[in-house]
């Protein structure tokens, strides 16, 4: 199947219109992100604690908020997490001044107290680890192995039993009923009875904790900004080295355009900006440049082949020739990223979103931003060809730099 055979679309005709549209969107983006401060900065960069809890029954967000408020943690953000029916909740608290260690302990203790009748149970199978469970079993010795005179073997036996019990939790996140333990391999009826008598199944379990102290957040912020800026500079240098300055400028404009619009939409969608987001944006930068480079590559080739043709025509011709590839590659990448967006789960959703936007906007900007800006730069400052094309146009040399753009401009306009 061929989509675009021998197309002759005059892409450059409406370049002023599209550049204007883009500039407007970029301006709106800059305003919304930097002036309005709409970006939702995650704990990676702002510092704070994020706790993922799983409950035995669907918890009421309002009740959680009240519980935390009473415990002196009033400004927690509480939201549902994961698929419905999994009873998972994400609690985020900002950094308390002067502390690096975050709010994990007070938050979990407060909720434990509220949901587990006072909390602090001696042994909670949804909280404690294999060691504790094994200790409890060893003390009660339901399988009668301790009496056989080999304490190490007895310990090993009960560690195995405890591990089988905790494996149920590892599998399901939370042990919801005693019945679900009945099928655990190696857990005897007597052992189960012992646990039933001596342990509780807490109403909640901590699935994950992320805490970033303010110091770490500050450092990650600086490193993140540095990484994005450096990679932009690195790509500009590479393109400048491989092509000509005007192409470098064109690619840079397109990339900056993509990043800002990506950030804008990312902020509008309300995703949280975290470490993975930086990875997504750096990939976006790479992808955006990649897309542009292929088109520039063709322009360079066509410029060598038909040096007499005006720049504008060369650009249009190259855009048409690469159109099929541009659409197809964007299409396949979009398929991959789209499946990630839909199926990849909550953790990667923001990441996949950035890339989806990046591919769409990046494809557009390769055509409507990169080339017009390369042309604009040439019209304003000359080709910056560093003599590479002089030979083909003006063997005399010196005057070529000044002459070439003017002549070409006349034809272009």
């Amino acid at each position: 199947m061929e989509f675009f055979r021998d197309t002759h679309i005059d892409f450059m005709k409406y370049r002023r219109f599209w550049v204007a549209v883009s500039l407007l969107v970029v301006a709106a983006g800059i305003f919304s992100i930097f002036v309005h401060g709409q970006l939702n900065i995650g704990i990676d960069f702002a510092g704070g604690t994020q706790i993922t809890l799983k409950f035995a029954e669907e918890p009421e967000i309002d009740r959680l908020r009240t519980v935390l408020g009473q415990a002196g943690i009033p400004d927690a953000q509480i939201q549902r997490f994961g698929e419905s029916g999994e009873h998972e909740v994400l609690i985020k608290t900002p950094t308390a001044e002067g502390t690096e260690e975050g709010s994990r302990d007070p938050v979990v203790e407060a909720i434990d107290r509220a949901y587990n009748e006072g909390g602090g149970a001696e042994l909670d199978l949804n909280r404690d680890g294999v060691e504790d469970v094994a200790d409890a079993l060893l003390a009660a010795d339901p399988d009668n192995v301790a009496g056989q005179g080999d304490p190490e073997a007895a310990r090993a036996h009960y560690e195995g039993v405890a591990d089988a019990v905790i494996e149920v939790r590892r599998e399901e996140g939370l042990i919801s009923s005693w019945e679900s333990l009945a099928g655990a391999p190696g857990v005897s009826r007597a052992a189960l009875e012992t646990l039933r008598a001596g342990a509780t199944l807490g109403e909640l379990t901590v699935l994950g904790v992320e805490n970033v102290g303010p110091q770490m957040g500050r450092e990650l912020r600086q490193k993140g900004i540095l990484a994005v800026v450096l990679s932009l500079v690195g790509m500009l240098l590479y393109i400048w080295f491989r092509f000509e300055l005007r192409f470098g400028i064109g690619a840079l404009m397109a990339t900056v355009h993509d990043v800002i619009i990506g950030l804008f939409l990312f902020a509008l969608a309300g995703f949280e900006f975290n470490l993975t987001t930086i990875a997504a944006f750096l990939t976006l930068v790479g992808y955006s440049v990649n897309d542009t480079v292929v088109i520039f590559d063709r322009m360079r080739e066509n410029m060598r082949r038909t040096p007499q043709k005006p720049m504008l025509e060369v650009m249009n011709e190259s855009l048409n020739q690469t159109l099929s590839r541009t659409v197809l590659t964007s299409g396949t990448t979009l398929i991959a990223v789209g499946s990630l967006l839909v199926l990849g789960g909550d953790v990667l959703r923001g990441f996949a979103f950035v890339l989806t936007i990046g591919i769409l906007v990046g494809t557009y900007s390769s055509i409507y931003i990169a080339s017009p800006f390369a042309l604009l730069w040439e019209q304003a400052f000359g080709s910056g060809a560093r003599g590479r094309r002089k030979g083909t146009r003006a063997p005399a040399g010196r005057s070529a730099r000044a002459e070439t753009p003017t002549r070409r401009n006349r034809r272009a306009s």
Partner: protein, 523 residues
């Protein structure tokens, strides 16, 4: 078959075989990151300033003690910032101070007389030495504790030459306990009780103070301790006046293990090394009937009465639970931390979250892969098979490389692989589109393929180098999971260039070699 074709085929076979063998079976060979297998990542900072401060205190005590022993009874010392200021030393005895410094403190201290004061100051080298020593010792202590607790494949490393230590513990199911275990300073001291002199504590600080007439002697300080009910719950505070100097410290312990006391209550049983035993024996022998406070991190655990001379072993009793006794024995065995630590960053992922992530990533990957394959077949018909083979090998090589180099697969890493699947066909698309163009221009199939590959090459290289630059900066910047992404993305780029240029070309050539003349290409 053409020789050249055969060799190229063999090379491809070898690469793919090595990749497949390295990566199979996946679940054993691929190193999963903490975000996928579940586990705990901690970054902690050793409060080396505390270590410097305690070193200064020790030095000060030492100087005063020795100067008094040398007969300079008027000596007074105090700490001013990081300096020790001595007063009451007659100038003609300066030589004694110099000797003490030479014998006990060494070159890491500078000293100078300023008027009637003598000022001691740590040199920069001395401070650095204490700092480095503290971090090294903390690293060793944490390592001991984690090994004693029993975590498989822990990674404990100093970050650069900083005061930070990163700890990675895969698959822990009681993160809270381990966090406490690592953080426990566990500085154990035995000190003689002064009030109540026969052991035990007083109900209030005022009671202790009034027994000294409101003024504590220089060598005595008041410490607090918990009062607990029989279940080990804290119900109040008691106060103890104890000597500032300790009889022995945790450094003199040889071993400590959980045991049961005379009422079957959990206690810690400890033994001393020879020096500790000798010193402990002397002091207990000389102080029968007096209290001995067991002090852990500046809090009194208990203050029993010395009933007999004890030399090499003893028990620590203090209304402990079983778990507390186990953990206390463990930290005492592994040694004290030289200074407090603070957790700067913690990321704990439960195993069930990790499993969900793997499942979702796998599903997204499979569906994405199938859709890309379908697209290529629809767009390029039979030639699409060429791209699909290249894509399949690409995925095999990516996993092979991950396994071969022992790289860690993280959740963003899975995203990187999925992204690679989408982007890997880019090189194929570049080549195929070029071939189509050349065919439209009227070239024969063979020369169109030749031209397609050679002309697309420059674009392929440029396009991939730019993505590689992004990946490089990501790797430089990233912490664990992000690095995983940078790694899979870079590996994917190399693999896709190999498969799309080398493998795909070989597939075309193979097709051409089979038939004498190729009139049509299904593209």
């Amino acid at each position: 078959m053409n020789r050249n074709l055969l060799y190229r085929g063999l090379l491809i076979l070898v690469v793919v075989a090595i990749a497949a063998i390295s990566a199979w079976p996946l679940e054993d060979k691929i190193n999963l990151g903490l975000d996928l297998r579940g586990g705990m990542h901690l970054v902690l900072e050793v409060q080396t300033a505390d270590a410097v401060k305690s070193e200064i205190d020790n030095a000060m005590e030492r100087i005063v003690q020795d100067a008094r022993d040398e007969g300079i009874s008027t000596i007074e010392a105090r700490r001013e910032g990081e300096q020790i200021v001595l007063t009451g030393v007659p100038p003609e005895r300066d030589e004694v101070i110099g000797r003490i410094r030479q014998d006990f403190l060494g070159e890491t201290w500078d000293w100078d007389r300023v008027g009637d004061r003598i000022v001691f100051e740590l040199t920069a080298a001395g401070r650095a030495e204490i700092r480095d020593g503290a971090v090294r010792q903390a690293l060793q202590t944490i390592d001991n504790r984690i090994n004693a607790y029993g975590v498989a494949e822990p990674v404990i490393a100093q970050l650069g030459s900083s005061e930070r230590i990163a700890v990675q513990l895969p698959g822990v199911d009681d993160p809270e306990r381990i966090r406490e275990l690592i953080k426990n300073t566990a500085f154990l001291e035995f000190r003689l009780s002064d009030y109540p002199r026969a052991g035990g504590g007083a109900a209030s600080r005022e009671e202790v103070l009034s027994s000294y007439g409101g003024q504590l002697p220089d060598d005595i300080e008041i410490l607090e301790g918990d009062v607990t009910d029989p279940e080990g719950r804290r119900i109040g505070t008691q106060f103890y006046a104890v000597t500032k100097r300790s009889v022995v410290t945790g450094r003199d312990l040889k071993n400590a293990r959980p045991s049961l006391g005379q009422f079957n209550e959990p206690v810690v049983n400890f033994t001393f090394n020879p020096q500790g035993a000798q010193r402990f024996g002397e002091v207990t022998g000389a102080n029968i009937g007096r209290g001995l406070a067991i002090v852990l991190d500046d809090r009194v655990v208990s203050a029993p009465t010395i009933e007999d001379r004890i030399s090499d072993s003893g028990i620590i009793r203090g209304n402990f639970t079983n778990r507390e006794v186990e953990d206390l024995s463990l930290v005492l065995r592994s040694g004290a931390l030289p200074a407090g630590i603070v957790y700067l960053e913690e990321r704990t992922v439960g195993p069930s979250l990790g499993r969900d992530s793997i499942e979702q990533g796998l599903r997204a990957g499979l569906i994405g892969f199938s859709l890309v394959v379908l697209t290529m077949l629809v767009v390029y018909k039979l030639t699409g098979i060429n791209a699909v083979v290249a894509l399949g090998l690409n995925v095999v090589i990516v996993f092979g490389a991950l396994a071969y180099f022992g790289a860690t697969l993280t959740l963003p890493g899975i995203a990187g692989i999925i992204l690679t699947v989408g982007m890997a066909v880019d090189a194929n698309v570049l080549v195929f589109e070029r071939i189509r163009e050349e065919l439209h221009a009227g070239r024969t199939v063979k020369s169109a393929i030749d031209a397609g590959f050679s002309k697309a090459l420059s674009s392929i290289i440029d396009a991939n180098v730019t993505t590689l630059i992004a990946a490089l900066f990501l790797f430089q910047f990233g912490t664990g999971p992000i690095r995983g992404f940078a790694v899979t993305l870079s590996v994917g780029i190399f693999a896709s260039v190999f498969t799309a240029v080398f493998v795909s070309r070989w597939l075309f050539d193979l097709q051409l070699a089979r038939r004498q003349r190729v009139e049509r290409l299904s593209i």
